[in-house]
């Protein structure tokens, strides 16, 4: 890595242009039983990949940006980037986030207080390109130098002597996919600025102007969702099969005969699940059905296009795609005539359907929306189902999804539930609104292309793993089965890969799962053993 010794934009530009991977020896150390754990370096792109794709300054590629073919294409890329940057700073093209963006762009005092709050920066062993202010600072310098009327006056003195070429543009785009938008840095900023927002706005610029995005978020994400109905590719026929299987499974596992309701007009709740649950963690869908049915809640799922998948990856990279998906969700609810929507265990869907959508949904489509955690708290605390917490006689810890806690302030309901169903519950430190991201936030959990999966488990999830191990340090031996409760689909996706890579099931006996599974596991009216103790 280039030395960041001088106080000019040149030093940052050199780092940006670098191509040096994360040194595994510098990764944050893990506690027992991982003192002897040795990570291999993240594999670089293969020669054939490298011939087509320009990676980030760390040699990793998430956005899979093709190398421009010739001089003309390179110039077009730079010009397009500057055009996009101009648009990003106008009210017409960016009314959605202009005020917070301007504030964050123009007032950073570069005190670096945010850096130690970032799990990627600290987890990587403090790699400079992962510093929360790094990409923001590059962007500021480009704006100052190339967009401001007096940008060419005293660039050295003012510190924006940065030249812009296609490589800088591509590296910046890649770097916007090395932050999970967890906003822990924003919480630490004494001026109240948000590097997470700047990162999101960089992604947005590239997507909305240049059509550059992480394929898992766009082509395989929002585009597929709007076309097929779900980013998983699940269509109505597939959905019907899954539900039939789920009903059989519920019967087998719980002894209960439950029909999963679909398209019930006028129900109290339309439950919005992340369709990833249906395919990867069907027990979550089943547990919801068991709880809601036994508590006597009037609820339904939707079989409408987009209505059966609460995912909205637009939240992470593109306002236009975000708005299209959010409007679809509300249209479905309105059409069904339900009283309310209930967001299932998915953090980003919570944020996308609740606070962010709040100022976007027109009055004609407005439907009130609640978190499942609040509804479940009401059911559990008011004893609408019978519980025997001794059935959950194993250590449990809670992972707080950033979108639900830090970005929405829903912190206590899940704890009130755990107090009733998990007698051996212990908190991670820090927790609640100060939690650490799982490392799969902002869509990372669904991306494993090229060498990004390796980066995600070794770097972005490292601090979370340390937290999990520390929470269970008194019972870390594999003979004691432990439950990591992660009430969020994307977080679970990350946990699956993180615990899998570090072999945490065999080494430590740590299983991950949602909150509803724990509740059902403690329900008196359900056959014992709903939670299956095998990592999947």
């Amino acid at each position: 890595m280039a030395e960041a010794g001088t106080a000019t934009a040149d030093a940052l530009a050199r780092l940006l242009a670098g191509n040096e991977g994360c040194d595994p020896a510098r990764l944050v150390p893990l506690p027992f039983p991982y003192e002897d754990w040795r990570d291999e370096a993240i594999p670089p792109l293969t020669e054939s990949q490298r011939a087509r794709i320009e990676p980030g300054p760390d040699g990793v590629s998430a956005a899979q940006i093709p190398i421009p073919g010739g001089e003309e294409e390179r110039e077009r890329l730079v010009a397009g980037f500057l055009d996009g940057l101009r648009k990003l700073l106008t009210r017409e093209n960016n009314w959605t986030f202009l005020q917070p963006l301007l504030l964050s762009m123009e007032n950073c005092v570069k005190c670096q207080t945010c850096a130690e709050a970032c799990p990627i920066y600290t987890g990587s062993g403090r790699m400079e390109v992962y510093r929360p202010t790094f990409r923001a600072e590059i962007l500021r310098k480009i704006v100052a130098r190339h967009l401001k009327p007096a940008g060419r006056l005293f660039p050295g003195l003012r510190g924006h002597d940065i030249e812009l070429d296609w490589e800088t543009v591509v590296k910046l785009a890649e770097l916007s996919y090395r932050c999970t938008l967890c906003r822990r840095c924003a919480q630490a900023c004494p001026v109240g600025l948000d590097n997470g927002l700047i990162t999101r706005e960089i992604r947005k610029l590239f997507s909305q102007e240049l059509g550059i995005h992480m394929p898992e978020l766009h082509e395989k994400g929002t585009v597929k969702q709007l076309e097929v109905g779900s980013s998983t590719g699940l269509n109505r026929a597939g959905l019907a099969d899954i539900m039939e299987f789920a009903e059989e499974d519920i019967r087998e596992k719980t002894g209960l005969d439950i029909k999963i309701p679909f398209d019930v007009e006028g129900a109290e709740y339309l439950v919005m699940h992340n369709a990833g649950e249906f395919l990867s963690w069907p027990e979550n869908l089943q547990a919801f059905a068991v709880i809601l049915e036994l508590a006597g809640v009037s609820w339904t799922l939707s079989s409408e296009l987009v209505g059966y998948d609460s995912v909205n990856y637009g939240l992470f990279y593109d306002d236009v795609q975000y708005a299209r998906v959010a409007l679809k969700h509300y249209e479905v609810a309105k059409k069904l005539g339900v009283e309310k929507m209930m967001v299932g265990e998915c953090g980003h869907a919570h944020k996308a359907l609740m606070p962010i959508a709040d100022r976007l949904i027109p009055d004609s489509l407005r439907v009130r929306t609640e978190s499942c955690l609040v509804v479940l708290e009401d059911i559990v605390v008011n004893e609408k189902i019978l519980l025997d917490p001794s059935r959950n006689d194993f250590p449990v810890t809670l992972h707080d999804p950033c979108n639900i806690t830090r970005s929405m302030g829903i912190v206590q309901p899940q704890r009130n539930i755990l107090a009733r169903v998990a007698p051996r519950f212990r908190e991670m430190e820090p927790h609640g609104v100060s939690n650490y991201c799982c490392g799969g936030g902002s869509g990372f959990a669904i991306c494993s292309s090229l060498n990004f999966g390796e980066w995600r488990t070794r770097v972005s999830g490292r601090v979370k793993l340390r937290q999990i191990l520390e929470a269970f340090s008194d019972c870390i031996e594999p003979e004691t089965k432990k439950y990591l409760c992660a009430p969020c689909s994307n977080c679970k996706g990350q946990m699956r890969d993180l615990l899998g890579y570090y072999d945490a099931w065999n080494r430590c006996g740590i299983l991950y799962g949602g909150l509803v599974e724990l509740i059902v596991n403690a329900m008196v009216d359900v056959r014992e053993g709903f939670i299956e103790w095998n990592l999947h």
Binding site: W95, T113, G211, G409
Partner: protein, 300 residues
């Protein structure tokens, strides 16, 4: 004549400062209403929720319940930030040791400046001498110490150095000089009140000899005021917006409210993003309610 020129320069500095800050604040204030981007803990939540960083979204059917807002919570958080620089204190104790005297120095020098105006209007008894002397002297000393500390940190600390521009050092250098001059004036024979009287006499058309230290201080101070609004030092008021209009802005939309009207207007803005999937050339409302045009494999 030199005295009048100096006062003219100070007046220019003040006018540019006021206009520049006003323009920056207006720019932030007049930005369109944005989508929510709240961040917890939010200071105006009632104590029971504020302590764990909770929000009204923790309540079942929150929309049927009266919104509780704690003004006291907001005031406490603001006071902590302004008086103690709580955020830096908690997260960056090393920097805080220099930043706290630096900011307190500035606060005291603002008090001193207001006192100088009051003195020019006739507040010139022993009380004025004491207040101006203490505020000007202590303020100058703290500012010089703080600016010196920050300058040293920014020059030596490997984490701060690459992000510190020559202009940042120059700014801190200017503030260090201003602090040192303030402290020197406070300790000089006539003190701050003497300087204030000399400036006031000159302003009234009775030119009085202005001590060189005072002249240099006024000239450099005015220069600082002149360019401050065009730097990130406007965080002195931008912080109001970052907290009250972004982090703590948890106001749910009420149909028919002024915010709803502003949002409807925003949906009429024309969109000209170039990526194919946007389908530009229409209003935001039209773009959001249409599906993306069919895309070719492998992106646009």
């Amino acid at each position: 004549m030199a005295g009048e020129v100096l006062l003219g320069w100070v007046a220019v500095g003040l006018v540019v400062f006021v206009l520049g800050c006003g323009w920056r604040a207006w720019r932030y204030r007049s930005a369109p209403v944005h989508l929510r981007w709240d961040l917890y803990p939010v200071a105006h939540e009632p104590k029971a929720r504020r302590e764990h960083g909770g929000s009204y979204l923790e309540e079942k059917e929150w929309w049927k319940k009266p919104r509780e807002r704690s003004l006291w919570g907001e005031l406490l958080a603001m006071l902590g930030e302004i008086v103690l620089l709580q955020g830096v204190r908690e997260n960056n104790r090393r920097l805080w040791r220099a930043s706290l005297p630096f900011h307190w120095g500035l606060y005291l020098l603002v008090v001193t400046s207001l006192g100088i105006f009051a003195a020019a209007l006739g507040w010139n008894g022993p009380g004025a001498r004491l207040v101006l002397g203490v505020a000007g002297g202590a303020g100058g000393l703290l500012l010089a110490l703080g600016a010196g500390g920050l300058l040293a940190l920014r020059s030596a600390d490997a984490k701060l150095k690459p992000y510190t521009t020559p202009l940042d050092r120059l700014n801190l250098g200017v503030l260090l000089v201003l602090g040192a001059l303030s402290a020197s004036i406070a300790l000089s024979e006539g003190g701050v009140l003497g300087a204030a009287t000399a400036l006031a006499d000159t302003a009234r058309g009775r030119p009085a000899p202005i001590p060189p230290l005072v002249a240099v201080h006024a000239a450099v101070g005015a220069l600082f005021l002149f360019y401050l609004p065009f730097t990130r030092m406007v965080h002195l008021f931008a912080k109001y917006f970052t907290y009250h209009k972004v982090r703590w802005d948890d106001e749910p939309l009420e149909p028919g409210s002024p915010m709803a009207r502003r949002l409807r207007a925003a949906l009429e803005y024309g969109v000209d993003w170039s990526a194919e999937h946007v389908g530009a050339g229409r209003s935001w409302g039209e773009v959001a309610t249409s599906l993306p045009p069919a895309e070719t494999k492998g992106g646009e």
